[in-house]
Protein backbone atom coordinates (compact mmCIF):
# COMPACT_ATOMS: atom_id res chain seq x y z
CA UNK A 1 0.00 0.00 0.00
CA UNK A 2 1.52 3.24 -1.04
CA UNK A 3 0.69 6.80 -1.75
CA UNK A 4 -2.62 8.34 -0.97
CA UNK A 5 -4.37 5.30 0.43
CA UNK A 6 -1.54 4.78 2.89
CA UNK A 7 -1.81 8.38 3.94
CA UNK A 8 -5.54 8.07 4.45
CA UNK A 9 -5.19 4.90 6.51
CA UNK A 10 -2.47 6.53 8.60
CA UNK A 11 -4.52 9.65 9.26
CA UNK A 12 -7.65 7.71 10.12
CA UNK A 13 -5.71 5.34 12.34
CA UNK A 14 -4.03 8.10 14.26
CA UNK A 15 -7.23 10.10 14.75
CA UNK A 16 -9.21 7.06 15.86
CA UNK A 17 -6.43 6.07 18.23
CA UNK A 18 -6.35 9.57 19.65
CA UNK A 19 -10.11 9.62 20.18
CA UNK A 20 -10.08 6.21 21.82
CA UNK A 21 -7.18 7.23 24.00
CA UNK A 22 -8.86 10.33 25.35
CA UNK A 23 -12.51 9.25 25.45
CA UNK A 24 -12.74 5.50 25.97
CA UNK A 25 -9.53 4.50 27.65
CA UNK A 26 -10.03 6.68 30.73
CA UNK A 27 -12.86 4.29 31.66
CA UNK A 28 -10.29 1.54 31.86
CA UNK A 29 -7.58 3.66 33.35
CA UNK A 30 -5.50 2.16 36.08
CA UNK A 31 -4.57 4.94 38.50
CA UNK A 32 -5.00 7.44 35.68
CA UNK A 33 -2.59 5.61 33.40
CA UNK A 34 -4.03 4.83 29.98
CA UNK A 35 -2.40 2.89 27.15
CA UNK A 36 -0.73 5.04 24.49
CA UNK A 37 -2.79 3.96 21.54
CA UNK A 38 -1.33 6.61 19.24
CA UNK A 39 2.14 5.34 20.02
CA UNK A 40 1.09 1.78 19.26
CA UNK A 41 -0.42 2.92 15.98
CA UNK A 42 2.91 4.42 15.02
CA UNK A 43 4.66 1.19 16.00
CA UNK A 44 2.27 -0.81 13.88
CA UNK A 45 2.78 1.49 10.94
CA UNK A 46 6.55 1.31 11.35
CA UNK A 47 6.45 -2.47 11.15
CA UNK A 48 4.85 -2.58 7.72
CA UNK A 49 5.88 0.65 6.04
CA UNK A 50 9.30 2.09 5.41
CA UNK A 51 11.18 3.96 8.12
CA UNK A 52 10.82 7.31 6.37
CA UNK A 53 7.08 7.11 6.41
CA UNK A 54 7.12 5.84 9.98
CA UNK A 55 9.29 8.72 11.10
CA UNK A 56 7.09 11.29 9.42
CA UNK A 57 3.96 9.61 10.77
CA UNK A 58 5.42 9.58 14.24
CA UNK A 59 6.23 13.24 14.02
CA UNK A 60 2.76 14.22 12.83
CA UNK A 61 0.93 11.93 15.24
CA UNK A 62 2.99 13.30 18.10
CA UNK A 63 2.26 16.83 16.98
CA UNK A 64 -1.45 16.02 16.96
CA UNK A 65 -1.15 14.53 20.43
CA UNK A 66 0.66 17.66 21.55
CA UNK A 67 -2.07 20.04 20.50
CA UNK A 68 -5.21 17.92 20.87
CA UNK A 69 -7.52 19.21 23.62
CA UNK A 70 -6.53 17.59 26.89
CA UNK A 71 -2.83 18.28 26.23
CA UNK A 72 -1.22 20.88 28.41
CA UNK A 73 2.42 19.92 28.34
CA UNK A 74 5.12 21.66 26.33
CA UNK A 75 4.29 21.11 22.69
CA UNK A 76 6.77 19.00 20.76
CA UNK A 77 7.47 16.44 23.43
CA UNK A 78 5.23 13.74 22.01
CA UNK A 79 6.33 14.74 18.52
CA UNK A 80 9.95 14.03 19.40
CA UNK A 81 9.09 10.80 21.25
CA UNK A 82 6.95 9.34 18.50
CA UNK A 83 9.43 10.46 15.85
CA UNK A 84 12.12 8.47 17.63
CA UNK A 85 9.75 5.54 18.05
CA UNK A 86 8.85 5.52 14.38
CA UNK A 87 12.45 5.78 13.29
CA UNK A 88 13.90 3.18 15.65
CA UNK A 89 11.15 0.62 15.18
CA UNK A 90 11.27 1.15 11.43
CA UNK A 91 15.04 0.73 11.30
CA UNK A 92 15.04 -2.37 13.48
CA UNK A 93 12.22 -3.96 11.54
CA UNK A 94 13.59 -3.26 8.08
CA UNK A 95 17.35 -3.14 8.33
CA UNK A 96 17.66 -6.78 7.40
CA UNK A 97 14.39 -7.33 5.67
CA UNK A 98 13.03 -4.55 3.55
CA UNK A 99 9.33 -3.97 3.69
CA UNK A 100 7.38 -5.97 1.18
CA UNK A 101 3.86 -5.27 0.29
CA UNK A 102 1.35 -7.55 1.92
CA UNK A 103 3.82 -9.33 4.22
CA UNK A 104 2.79 -9.20 7.83
CA UNK A 105 5.25 -9.66 10.65
CA UNK A 106 4.68 -12.51 13.07
CA UNK A 107 2.49 -11.92 16.07
CA UNK A 108 5.23 -12.19 18.73
CA UNK A 109 7.31 -9.70 16.77
CA UNK A 110 4.40 -7.27 16.78
CA UNK A 111 4.00 -7.52 20.54
CA UNK A 112 7.72 -7.18 21.15
CA UNK A 113 7.84 -4.19 18.84
CA UNK A 114 4.91 -2.68 20.71
CA UNK A 115 6.63 -3.15 24.05
CA UNK A 116 9.91 -1.78 22.79
CA UNK A 117 8.24 1.18 21.11
CA UNK A 118 6.28 1.91 24.26
CA UNK A 119 9.46 1.80 26.30
CA UNK A 120 11.30 4.13 23.94
CA UNK A 121 8.40 6.52 23.60
CA UNK A 122 7.63 6.78 27.31
CA UNK A 123 11.31 7.13 28.12
CA UNK A 124 11.95 9.90 25.63
CA UNK A 125 8.79 11.67 26.74
CA UNK A 126 9.77 11.39 30.39
CA UNK A 127 13.34 12.49 29.67
CA UNK A 128 12.24 15.59 27.79
CA UNK A 129 9.96 16.29 30.72
CA UNK A 130 12.89 16.01 33.09
CA UNK A 131 15.04 18.28 30.95
CA UNK A 132 12.30 20.86 30.53
CA UNK A 133 11.08 20.46 34.11
CA UNK A 134 7.64 20.33 32.59
CA UNK A 135 5.52 18.31 35.01
CA UNK A 136 7.90 19.12 37.91
CA UNK A 137 7.68 15.66 39.50
CA UNK A 138 10.56 13.74 40.96
CA UNK A 139 12.24 10.83 39.24
CA UNK A 140 10.78 8.13 41.46
CA UNK A 141 7.23 9.19 40.75
CA UNK A 142 8.07 9.51 37.08
CA UNK A 143 9.54 6.04 36.94
CA UNK A 144 6.49 4.56 38.61
CA UNK A 145 4.14 6.10 36.07
CA UNK A 146 6.39 5.17 33.15
CA UNK A 147 6.55 1.55 34.27
CA UNK A 148 2.79 1.37 34.78
CA UNK A 149 2.24 2.90 31.34
CA UNK A 150 4.69 0.41 29.87
CA UNK A 151 2.85 -2.54 31.37
CA UNK A 152 -0.46 -1.22 30.13
CA UNK A 153 1.00 -0.54 26.69
CA UNK A 154 2.21 -4.12 26.37
CA UNK A 155 -1.30 -5.25 27.22
CA UNK A 156 -2.83 -2.91 24.65
CA UNK A 157 -0.17 -3.85 22.08
CA UNK A 158 -1.64 -7.35 21.96
CA UNK A 159 -4.59 -5.88 20.11
CA UNK A 160 -3.65 -2.45 18.85
CA UNK A 161 -0.52 -3.28 16.89
CA UNK A 162 -2.00 -6.21 14.95
CA UNK A 163 -5.01 -4.06 14.15
CA UNK A 164 -2.82 -1.32 12.76
CA UNK A 165 -0.72 -3.79 10.82
CA UNK A 166 -3.85 -5.29 9.38
CA UNK A 167 -5.14 -1.84 8.41
CA UNK A 168 -1.90 -1.02 6.61
CA UNK A 169 -1.41 -4.35 4.85
CA UNK A 170 -5.00 -4.65 3.76
CA UNK A 171 -4.92 -4.41 0.02
CA UNK A 172 -8.19 -3.06 -1.21
CA UNK A 173 -7.02 -3.34 -4.80
CA UNK A 174 -5.84 -6.91 -4.61
CA UNK A 175 -9.16 -8.35 -3.65
CA UNK A 176 -11.14 -7.09 -6.57
CA UNK A 177 -9.50 -9.28 -9.22
CA UNK A 178 -10.42 -12.40 -7.29
CA UNK A 179 -14.06 -11.54 -7.39
CA UNK A 180 -15.46 -12.72 -10.62
CA UNK A 181 -17.84 -10.25 -12.13
CA UNK A 182 -21.30 -11.54 -11.63
CA UNK A 183 -23.79 -11.62 -14.35
CA UNK A 184 -26.83 -9.49 -13.68
CA UNK A 185 -29.52 -11.63 -12.12
CA UNK A 186 -32.35 -10.19 -13.98
CA UNK A 187 -32.37 -9.08 -17.46
CA UNK A 188 -33.30 -5.48 -17.70
CA UNK A 189 -36.87 -5.15 -18.60
Amino acid sequence: MRGTSRLIVATAGVVVALLLQVTVMPHFAWDGVVPDLVLLTVVGAALVTDPRFATLLGFSAGLLLDIAPPADHVAGRWALSLLVVGYVVGRLAHDHQPAQAGVRPSYPLMVVAGAGGAFIGSSVYALTGLVLRDPAVDVGQLLEVVLAALAYDVLAALVAVPLTVWAFTREPGSRSPKVTPRAPRRAPA
Binding site: H27, D50, D66
Partner: protein, 315 residues
Protein backbone atom coordinates in the same frame (compact mmCIF):
# COMPACT_ATOMS: atom_id res chain seq x y z
CA UNK B 1 48.70 -10.77 -35.08
CA UNK B 2 45.70 -8.81 -35.39
CA UNK B 3 44.51 -6.02 -33.40
CA UNK B 4 41.33 -6.47 -31.55
CA UNK B 5 39.35 -3.81 -33.22
CA UNK B 6 36.04 -4.94 -31.96
CA UNK B 7 34.20 -2.38 -30.03
CA UNK B 8 34.34 -2.95 -26.32
CA UNK B 9 31.76 -5.34 -24.96
CA UNK B 10 28.56 -3.80 -24.02
CA UNK B 11 28.50 -5.25 -20.60
CA UNK B 12 26.77 -2.97 -18.13
CA UNK B 13 29.15 -1.12 -15.98
CA UNK B 14 28.88 -2.21 -12.38
CA UNK B 15 27.53 0.72 -10.65
CA UNK B 16 28.03 1.30 -6.94
CA UNK B 17 25.19 3.08 -5.30
CA UNK B 18 25.99 5.95 -3.03
CA UNK B 19 24.93 5.48 0.61
CA UNK B 20 22.28 8.05 0.11
CA UNK B 21 20.76 6.23 -2.80
CA UNK B 22 20.90 3.00 -0.85
CA UNK B 23 19.03 4.62 1.97
CA UNK B 24 16.49 5.98 -0.43
CA UNK B 25 15.99 2.57 -1.86
CA UNK B 26 15.46 0.97 1.50
CA UNK B 27 13.00 3.65 2.43
CA UNK B 28 15.16 5.16 5.12
CA UNK B 29 14.71 8.80 5.90
CA UNK B 30 17.64 10.89 4.81
CA UNK B 31 19.83 12.35 7.46
CA UNK B 32 18.72 15.85 6.58
CA UNK B 33 15.05 14.95 6.97
CA UNK B 34 15.73 13.33 10.31
CA UNK B 35 17.69 16.24 11.64
CA UNK B 36 15.10 18.66 10.35
CA UNK B 37 12.35 16.84 12.18
CA UNK B 38 14.29 16.57 15.42
CA UNK B 39 15.24 20.22 15.21
CA UNK B 40 11.62 21.09 14.56
CA UNK B 41 10.62 19.24 17.70
CA UNK B 42 13.30 20.87 19.78
CA UNK B 43 12.48 24.30 18.40
CA UNK B 44 8.80 23.77 19.16
CA UNK B 45 9.58 22.69 22.70
CA UNK B 46 11.89 25.61 23.30
CA UNK B 47 9.44 28.12 21.89
CA UNK B 48 6.54 26.69 23.87
CA UNK B 49 8.44 26.29 27.09
CA UNK B 50 10.13 29.67 27.05
CA UNK B 51 7.28 31.89 25.95
CA UNK B 52 5.07 31.06 28.94
CA UNK B 53 1.53 32.35 28.83
CA UNK B 54 1.75 34.02 25.42
CA UNK B 55 2.87 30.84 23.69
CA UNK B 56 2.37 30.75 19.93
CA UNK B 57 1.23 27.16 20.38
CA UNK B 58 -1.85 28.29 22.26
CA UNK B 59 -3.82 29.49 19.23
CA UNK B 60 -3.00 26.21 17.51
CA UNK B 61 -4.19 24.32 20.55
CA UNK B 62 -7.37 26.38 20.63
CA UNK B 63 -7.99 25.60 16.99
CA UNK B 64 -7.35 21.92 17.59
CA UNK B 65 -9.75 22.10 20.48
CA UNK B 66 -12.40 23.70 18.27
CA UNK B 67 -12.03 20.92 15.75
CA UNK B 68 -11.36 17.91 17.94
CA UNK B 69 -13.54 18.90 20.90
CA UNK B 70 -16.87 18.18 19.21
CA UNK B 71 -15.45 15.02 17.72
CA UNK B 72 -14.36 13.86 21.13
CA UNK B 73 -17.73 14.75 22.61
CA UNK B 74 -19.46 12.86 19.83
CA UNK B 75 -17.25 9.83 20.29
CA UNK B 76 -17.81 9.94 24.00
CA UNK B 77 -21.59 10.17 23.57
CA UNK B 78 -21.51 7.39 21.06
CA UNK B 79 -19.41 5.10 23.19
CA UNK B 80 -20.92 5.80 26.57
CA UNK B 81 -23.90 3.44 26.11
CA UNK B 82 -21.52 0.73 24.99
CA UNK B 83 -19.26 1.29 27.96
CA UNK B 84 -22.31 1.27 30.20
CA UNK B 85 -23.24 -2.26 29.15
CA UNK B 86 -21.40 -3.93 32.06
CA UNK B 87 -23.56 -1.85 34.38
CA UNK B 88 -26.70 -3.58 33.10
CA UNK B 89 -25.59 -6.99 34.16
CA UNK B 90 -26.42 -7.15 37.82
CA UNK B 91 -27.19 -10.28 39.71
CA UNK B 92 -30.38 -10.55 41.69
CA UNK B 93 -28.31 -11.04 44.81
CA UNK B 94 -26.39 -7.86 44.13
CA UNK B 95 -29.61 -5.93 43.61
CA UNK B 96 -31.11 -7.35 46.79
CA UNK B 97 -27.98 -6.39 48.63
CA UNK B 98 -28.19 -2.87 47.26
CA UNK B 99 -31.85 -2.66 48.20
CA UNK B 100 -31.16 -3.89 51.73
CA UNK B 101 -28.35 -1.38 52.08
CA UNK B 102 -30.55 1.44 50.87
CA UNK B 103 -33.39 0.45 53.19
CA UNK B 104 -31.04 0.28 56.14
CA UNK B 105 -29.73 3.71 55.30
CA UNK B 106 -33.24 5.09 54.99
CA UNK B 107 -34.17 3.58 58.36
CA UNK B 108 -31.10 5.12 59.95
CA UNK B 109 -31.88 8.49 58.45
CA UNK B 110 -35.49 8.32 59.56
CA UNK B 111 -34.48 7.44 63.08
CA UNK B 112 -32.06 10.32 63.09
CA UNK B 113 -34.81 12.52 61.72
CA UNK B 114 -37.19 11.52 64.50
CA UNK B 115 -34.57 12.33 67.07
CA UNK B 116 -33.74 15.64 65.49
CA UNK B 117 -36.39 17.82 67.09
CA UNK B 118 -35.80 16.22 70.48
CA UNK B 119 -32.07 16.80 70.21
CA UNK B 120 -32.62 20.36 69.10
CA UNK B 121 -34.83 20.93 72.14
CA UNK B 122 -32.23 19.43 74.42
CA UNK B 123 -29.50 21.56 72.94
CA UNK B 124 -31.73 24.58 73.41
CA UNK B 125 -32.42 23.60 77.01
CA UNK B 126 -28.76 23.08 77.80
CA UNK B 127 -27.97 26.42 76.24
CA UNK B 128 -30.54 28.07 78.49
CA UNK B 129 -29.12 26.20 81.45
CA UNK B 130 -25.77 27.73 80.59
CA UNK B 131 -27.39 31.14 80.54
CA UNK B 132 -28.95 30.49 83.96
CA UNK B 133 -25.59 29.41 85.32
CA UNK B 134 -24.03 32.58 84.04
CA UNK B 135 -26.86 34.69 85.47
CA UNK B 136 -26.90 33.21 88.96
CA UNK B 137 -23.24 32.42 89.27
CA UNK B 138 -23.80 28.90 90.57
CA UNK B 139 -22.10 25.88 89.12
CA UNK B 140 -24.55 23.16 88.21
CA UNK B 141 -24.12 19.48 87.52
CA UNK B 142 -26.35 18.59 84.57
CA UNK B 143 -28.69 15.66 85.01
CA UNK B 144 -31.74 14.25 83.31
CA UNK B 145 -35.02 13.30 84.82
CA UNK B 146 -35.39 9.56 84.42
CA UNK B 147 -38.47 8.83 86.48
CA UNK B 148 -41.53 10.45 87.98
CA UNK B 149 -42.91 9.32 91.28
CA UNK B 150 -46.48 8.10 90.98
CA UNK B 151 -49.38 10.27 91.99
CA UNK B 152 -50.68 7.48 94.22
CA UNK B 153 -47.83 8.08 96.60
CA UNK B 154 -49.01 11.69 96.97
CA UNK B 155 -45.52 12.95 96.78
CA UNK B 156 -44.12 14.84 93.84
CA UNK B 157 -40.68 13.45 93.37
CA UNK B 158 -38.56 12.68 90.37
CA UNK B 159 -35.46 10.65 89.86
CA UNK B 160 -32.45 12.13 88.11
CA UNK B 161 -29.53 10.28 86.67
CA UNK B 162 -26.79 11.83 88.76
CA UNK B 163 -25.78 10.67 92.19
CA UNK B 164 -22.81 10.60 94.46
CA UNK B 165 -20.65 9.89 91.42
CA UNK B 166 -21.43 13.42 90.26
CA UNK B 167 -20.72 14.88 93.68
CA UNK B 168 -24.33 15.12 94.79
CA UNK B 169 -25.60 14.79 98.31
CA UNK B 170 -28.86 15.50 100.03
CA UNK B 171 -30.18 19.06 100.35
CA UNK B 172 -28.89 20.46 97.14
CA UNK B 173 -30.88 22.82 94.99
CA UNK B 174 -32.18 21.50 91.67
CA UNK B 175 -32.93 24.01 88.95
CA UNK B 176 -33.73 23.97 85.30
CA UNK B 177 -33.38 26.78 82.78
CA UNK B 178 -36.73 28.23 83.79
CA UNK B 179 -36.18 28.29 87.51
CA UNK B 180 -36.37 26.29 90.70
CA UNK B 181 -37.28 22.61 90.46
CA UNK B 182 -36.76 21.30 93.94
CA UNK B 183 -34.11 19.82 96.18
CA UNK B 184 -32.27 16.58 96.46
CA UNK B 185 -33.61 14.44 99.28
CA UNK B 186 -31.87 11.16 98.65
CA UNK B 187 -28.80 10.11 96.77
CA UNK B 188 -27.61 6.78 95.55
CA UNK B 189 -24.41 6.23 93.68
CA UNK B 190 -25.84 6.96 90.23
CA UNK B 191 -29.27 8.46 90.86
CA UNK B 192 -30.85 10.95 93.16
CA UNK B 193 -34.39 11.65 94.24
CA UNK B 194 -35.59 15.19 93.95
CA UNK B 195 -38.48 16.63 95.90
CA UNK B 196 -40.26 19.09 93.66
CA UNK B 197 -41.27 22.44 95.07
CA UNK B 198 -44.89 21.70 94.27
CA UNK B 199 -44.89 18.74 96.68
CA UNK B 200 -47.21 19.25 99.61
CA UNK B 201 -44.40 18.79 102.06
CA UNK B 202 -42.09 21.27 100.37
CA UNK B 203 -41.56 24.70 101.78
CA UNK B 204 -39.15 27.15 100.26
CA UNK B 205 -38.11 30.53 101.53
CA UNK B 206 -39.22 32.93 98.86
CA UNK B 207 -38.85 36.62 98.35
CA UNK B 208 -40.80 38.95 96.13
CA UNK B 209 -38.23 40.32 93.77
CA UNK B 210 -39.74 43.82 93.50
CA UNK B 211 -40.24 44.58 97.17
CA UNK B 212 -37.71 42.23 98.77
CA UNK B 213 -40.47 40.99 101.09
CA UNK B 214 -39.81 37.53 102.46
CA UNK B 215 -42.26 34.73 102.73
CA UNK B 216 -42.73 31.01 102.52
CA UNK B 217 -43.58 29.21 99.31
CA UNK B 218 -45.26 25.90 99.92
CA UNK B 219 -46.45 23.34 97.45
CA UNK B 220 -49.95 22.01 97.12
CA UNK B 221 -49.15 18.74 95.52
CA UNK B 222 -50.35 17.61 92.17
CA UNK B 223 -48.55 18.12 88.91
CA UNK B 224 -51.37 19.56 86.87
CA UNK B 225 -53.04 21.52 89.58
CA UNK B 226 -53.85 25.07 88.59
CA UNK B 227 -52.82 26.36 92.00
CA UNK B 228 -49.61 24.51 92.61
CA UNK B 229 -47.72 27.01 94.77
CA UNK B 230 -48.74 29.33 97.51
CA UNK B 231 -46.82 32.26 98.93
CA UNK B 232 -47.35 33.35 102.49
CA UNK B 233 -45.59 36.62 103.24
CA UNK B 234 -44.24 37.21 106.70
CA UNK B 235 -45.46 40.77 106.73
CA UNK B 236 -49.24 40.31 106.57
CA UNK B 237 -49.94 43.87 105.67
CA UNK B 238 -48.30 43.81 102.30
CA UNK B 239 -50.37 42.76 99.34
CA UNK B 240 -48.33 41.29 96.50
CA UNK B 241 -49.21 42.50 93.06
CA UNK B 242 -50.05 40.22 90.20
CA UNK B 243 -47.06 39.54 87.99
CA UNK B 244 -44.41 40.12 90.62
CA UNK B 245 -41.59 37.59 90.37
CA UNK B 246 -40.65 35.48 93.35
CA UNK B 247 -37.14 34.16 93.81
CA UNK B 248 -35.62 31.97 96.48
CA UNK B 249 -34.59 33.57 99.64
CA UNK B 250 -31.73 31.27 100.30
CA UNK B 251 -30.78 29.11 103.22
CA UNK B 252 -27.76 29.22 105.38
CA UNK B 253 -24.80 27.70 103.58
CA UNK B 254 -26.82 27.28 100.41
CA UNK B 255 -28.59 24.17 101.70
CA UNK B 256 -31.16 23.11 100.88
CA UNK B 257 -31.84 26.15 98.68
CA UNK B 258 -29.45 28.68 97.23
CA UNK B 259 -30.69 32.23 96.90
CA UNK B 260 -31.84 34.12 93.85
CA UNK B 261 -33.30 31.26 91.81
CA UNK B 262 -36.60 32.28 90.22
CA UNK B 263 -39.58 30.27 91.44
CA UNK B 264 -42.59 31.80 89.81
CA UNK B 265 -44.71 34.86 89.59
CA UNK B 266 -47.75 36.02 91.45
CA UNK B 267 -50.88 35.03 89.57
CA UNK B 268 -53.71 35.45 92.10
CA UNK B 269 -54.12 37.10 95.47
CA UNK B 270 -56.85 36.06 97.89
CA UNK B 271 -57.72 37.79 101.10
CA UNK B 272 -58.28 35.49 104.02
CA UNK B 273 -61.07 37.38 105.78
CA UNK B 274 -60.98 35.43 108.96
CA UNK B 275 -57.26 35.79 109.56
CA UNK B 276 -56.90 39.09 107.80
CA UNK B 277 -54.03 37.82 105.76
CA UNK B 278 -53.46 37.43 102.08
CA UNK B 279 -53.02 34.13 100.32
CA UNK B 280 -50.97 34.48 97.19
CA UNK B 281 -50.96 31.88 94.44
CA UNK B 282 -47.80 31.57 92.40
CA UNK B 283 -47.55 30.38 88.85
CA UNK B 284 -44.24 28.50 88.73
CA UNK B 285 -41.85 29.24 85.92
CA UNK B 286 -40.97 25.60 85.61
CA UNK B 287 -43.29 23.29 83.72
CA UNK B 288 -43.24 20.31 86.05
CA UNK B 289 -44.98 17.96 83.64
CA UNK B 290 -42.23 18.13 81.05
CA UNK B 291 -39.07 18.11 83.09
CA UNK B 292 -36.10 16.76 81.26
CA UNK B 293 -32.76 18.47 81.68
CA UNK B 294 -32.18 19.77 85.14
CA UNK B 295 -29.12 20.99 86.95
CA UNK B 296 -28.05 20.41 90.49
CA UNK B 297 -26.33 23.37 92.07
CA UNK B 298 -22.92 22.19 93.28
CA UNK B 299 -20.15 24.18 94.91
CA UNK B 300 -18.09 26.08 92.33
CA UNK B 301 -14.65 24.71 91.65
CA UNK B 302 -15.51 21.70 93.78
CA UNK B 303 -14.79 18.09 93.19
CA UNK B 304 -17.96 17.58 91.22
CA UNK B 305 -18.37 15.31 88.24
CA UNK B 306 -16.81 15.88 84.86
CA UNK B 307 -19.86 17.52 83.35
CA UNK B 308 -20.27 20.37 85.80
CA UNK B 309 -21.17 23.60 84.09
CA UNK B 310 -19.15 26.35 85.72
CA UNK B 311 -20.22 29.96 85.43
CA UNK B 312 -18.74 31.55 82.33
CA UNK B 313 -17.98 28.19 80.77
CA UNK B 314 -20.46 28.65 77.95
CA UNK B 315 -19.96 32.27 77.10
Amino acid sequence: MSLDTRPPRQTPVRRVATPRERDEERGLPTRSLLSALVLACVALMVVDASSGAASPVDPVRRFAGEVLGPVQAGASNLLDPILGIPGWFRTNDGLRGDLADAQRRIADLEAANHQDSYLANRADELGRMCALVDDTGYAVAPARVIGYGSAQSFSNTVTIDAGTDAGLHADMTVVNPDGLVGRVIQVSSHTATVLLVIDASSTVGGRVGDTMENGMVSGHGGLADDQPLELQLIDHTIVPQKGQPVVTWGSEGGAPYVSGVPIGEVSKVFQDLRLGTYRTVLEPYVDFTSLDDVGVVVPTGGAGGAGVIEPGACS
